[in-house]
């Protein structure tokens, strides 16, 4: 380094600057590494404590908590493609579905243990995304989106029709009593008279154990995504998003980078899909429909595309709305507004009623519009702005490590 510097330093520059800059730089690097460590610790703590943290919001039941985790994983993976490279895939639900089918087949043929099921699900989704990505990445922009959408809809229709022997068509793929389960049979687990449940070396994966499995997988997924964001690979992907032409004239072949990102994000989707099968061993084709692909796009944009925490946050918000707001009815509204005088209470119930229950999509739509218009960077941008308000203008000179852009305002 010093040799290199000595050779090319311009005569105008001051000698000590390079050394000083170098020190400042390595200090800021170690600071950003420490921030990442804090981030992952806080994230793990919040996820593992969510049964208590979310109790006041009425969301602390394992079924919903599992969905938070699973869709969080799905969105984290989607963000690796969309957030880093800017390529909007509109067919990621196909990989989710493939992960589910693969996992259920592993339950049917091999064992009720979740480990092989998850591995098989991720593997199948990875292979499919390599294939689909190879074809779709010949085009960029809107054409890429349309191609992925076409592939996903094709998979959905195939699952319904031609592939019925594999997918069991409309009924969906289910466990049956006469499934072979060769590994379970070989290890002497007796076939029972009722349907077996998924397990992790004997621990039943329903209720809270199922949630904790999903939570740990979510934390690992989040950690991997931090590593990817901070790696040279992640930097190349952001370069592709910013200026793909420059990348080619800089000696980078962008296609394999994009394909690798697509496969990684497809594997994340497969992981989420197989966890869905773990918590409820049933796979239906509707999981691959384009609305499911659209949902993960919403989650990522709502939370903040290209940020680390945003997609998880977006997934949480959307799933919360879907489950909680949709369960409100006129009666809950009446009791919520009962403190108001009668006429006013009636009025409030009338105007809020369309936004809850069946109408929760309306709330979501309004929220989404407000966020996209006023906070194009999603909820994370909102959090960052609030953070900046508290820490003065936020324009402090040291708040500028290269990672700052993708860092949440914790």
């Amino acid at each position: 380094m010093s040799q290199n510097l000595g050779k090319i330093r311009s005569p105008l520059d001051m000698e000590p600057l390079a050394i000083e800059v170098h020190d400042v730089e390595s200090a800021s690097r170690s600071r950003s590494a420490r921030n990442d460590l804090i981030l992952i610790c806080v994230f793990s703590a919040v996820v593992l404590a969510s049964p208590w943290l979310l109790a006041p919001f009425g969301a602390a039941y394992p079924d919903l908590l599992q969905r938070f985790c699973i869709f969080g994983i799905f969105a984290i993976g989607f963000n690796i493609m969309f957030g880093l490279t800017g390529y909007l895939s509109f067919g990621h639900a196909a990989f989710l579905g493939i992960g589910s089918y693969a996992a259920v087949w592993s339950f049917k043929l091999l064992t009720m243990n979740v480990i092989p099921a998850v591995m098989f699900g991720v593997l199948c989704a990875g292979l499919f995304s390599a294939l689909i990505g190879y074809v779709c990445l010949r085009r960029a922009g809107i054409y890429f989106s349309i191609l992925t959408l076409a592939f996903a809809q094709m998979s959905y229709n195939l699952a319904y029709s031609v592939l019925t022997p594999i997918t069991n068509g409309e009924t969906g793929l289910q466990l049956t009593l006469n499934d072979s389960r060769v590994l379970d049979a070989a290890s002497g687990i007796d076939p029972t008279s009722s349907l077996p449940v998924t397990n992790l070396f004997g621990m039943k994966m329903s209720g809270y154990p199922g949630f904790y499995l999903c939570a740990i997988v979510l934390i690992i997924s989040f950690y991997i995504s931090i590593r990817i964001f901070r790696s040279p690979f992640g930097m190349m992907l952001r370069g592709i998003k910013t200026n793909q032409n420059r990348m080619s004239y800089t000696g980078i072949n962008t296609r394999p980078y994009l394909l690798a990102a697509f496969v990684v994000s497809g594997m994340y989707a497969g992981l989420a899909g197989s966890l869905m099968a773990v918590t409820d061993p049933l796979a239906g084709a509707e999981r691959m429909q384009w609305t499911a692909s659209g949902e993960v796009v919403l989650m990522t944009i709502l939370g903040g595309a290209g940020t680390l925490l945003g997609p998880v946050l977006g997934a949480g918000v959307i799933k919360y709305f879907e489950n909680i707001f949709s369960s409100f009815n006129a009666q809950t509204l009446h009791s919520a507004f009962s403190f108001l005088p009668d006429g006013l209470a009636e009025f409030m119930v009338t105007i809020t009623h369309p936004f809850v229950g069946e109408g929760w999509h309306l709330t979501l739509g309004v929220l989404f519009m407000l966020i996209v218009i006023f906070l194009p960077g999603g909820l994370m941008e909102g959090a960052q702005r609030i953070g900046n308000m508290f820490s003065g203008s936020g324009g402090k000179s040291e708040a500028e490590s290269p990672a700052e852009q993708t860092k949440p305002a914790e």
Binding site: R230, R238, T242, Y257, E404
Partner: protein, 252 residues
């Protein structure tokens, strides 16, 4: 010895002949300026050298390798050709440091390497090299600024740093001082002279004659898609054909 050999290159867009039988021979370690009135085909010629355009016919040989026949822009760059564009092509949403690190990684790791696990911050040698390069072009204090916030002149200096960090054999400069103030222009000339000492061959397209005559070893004058004169700066200065191409062409 010629590092770049261009002979008989033709390129037309529909009915428009942009380049007609262009011949150039660029000596190793020289600074070769290409001048000519607007629309003479200077940028088209550069585009043919970096794989952005494919000539209709002709030969382009760089350091013993043909740059034609479907060779991709990234392969041409990996051979050691780098270009600074007329409108700066930088990574606008990334920091200056990252802008310089990407080409450094491209030089070290080739056109593709999947490294999704190791942290960029832990690659000390890449960081140090990038900092030294930013210092050389005078942008080190702004290393963590998002590039879009830079002035155009600064962006072009950054782009120059992005090329230099790759230690190219041939550097193509498309109007490196266009739109710069006189002071900035002089700084850029100093910078280019300094890197000239490292023996990088350069092709410069420029309208500013002050820049051309302070840097160039040889000058080719391009008019209407063909090289009309080539020679030493002194002989070009007084050549009637050059004056005719510039003045005659524009006045009538």
């Amino acid at each position: 010895m010629a590092i770049l050999e261009v002979s008989g290159v033709n390129k037309s867009f529909g009915g428009l002949k942009a380049l007609t039988d262009v011949n150039l021979s660029i000596e190793q370690s020289s600074v070769h300026a290409i001048i000519g009135p607007n629309g003479a085909g200077k940028s088209t010629l550069l585009n043919c050298l970096i794989g952005k355009l494919e000539p209709d016919s002709g030969v382009v040989n760089f350091d013993g390798t043909s740059l034609l026949g479907g060779i991709t822009p990234y392969n041409i760059n990996q051979l050691g050709v780098c270009r600074v564009f007329q409108t700066p092509e930088v990574f606008g949403d990334m920091t200056l440091l990252e802008n310089v690190m990407i080409p450094s990684f491209a030089k070290r790791d080739g056109n593709f390497r999947f490294n999704g696990w190791g942290a960029v911050a832990k690659r000390g040698e890449v960081n140090d090299e990038a900092l030294a390069m930013l210092e050389e072009v005078g942008l080190v204090e702004q290393r963590n600024v998002i590039t879009n916030a830079l002035s155009r002149g600064d962006k072009r200096r950054l782009e120059l740093a992005m090329c230099l960090i790759q230690h190219p054999k041939l550097l193509l400069l498309d109007e490196p001082t266009a739109g710069m103030s006189r002071a900035d222009t002089n700084n850029t000339i100093e910078l280019l002279k300094k890197i000239g000492e490292r023996g990088i061959t350069k092709i410069i397209i420029e309208h500013d004659m002050h820049v051309v005559f302070s840097l160039a070893d040889r000058i080719s004058v391009l008019a209407q898609g063909t090289v009309i004169v080539e020679g030493e700066p002194e002989s070009i200065k007084g050549d009637p054909r050059v004056i005719e191409a510039y003045l005659g062409g524009e006045l009538g």
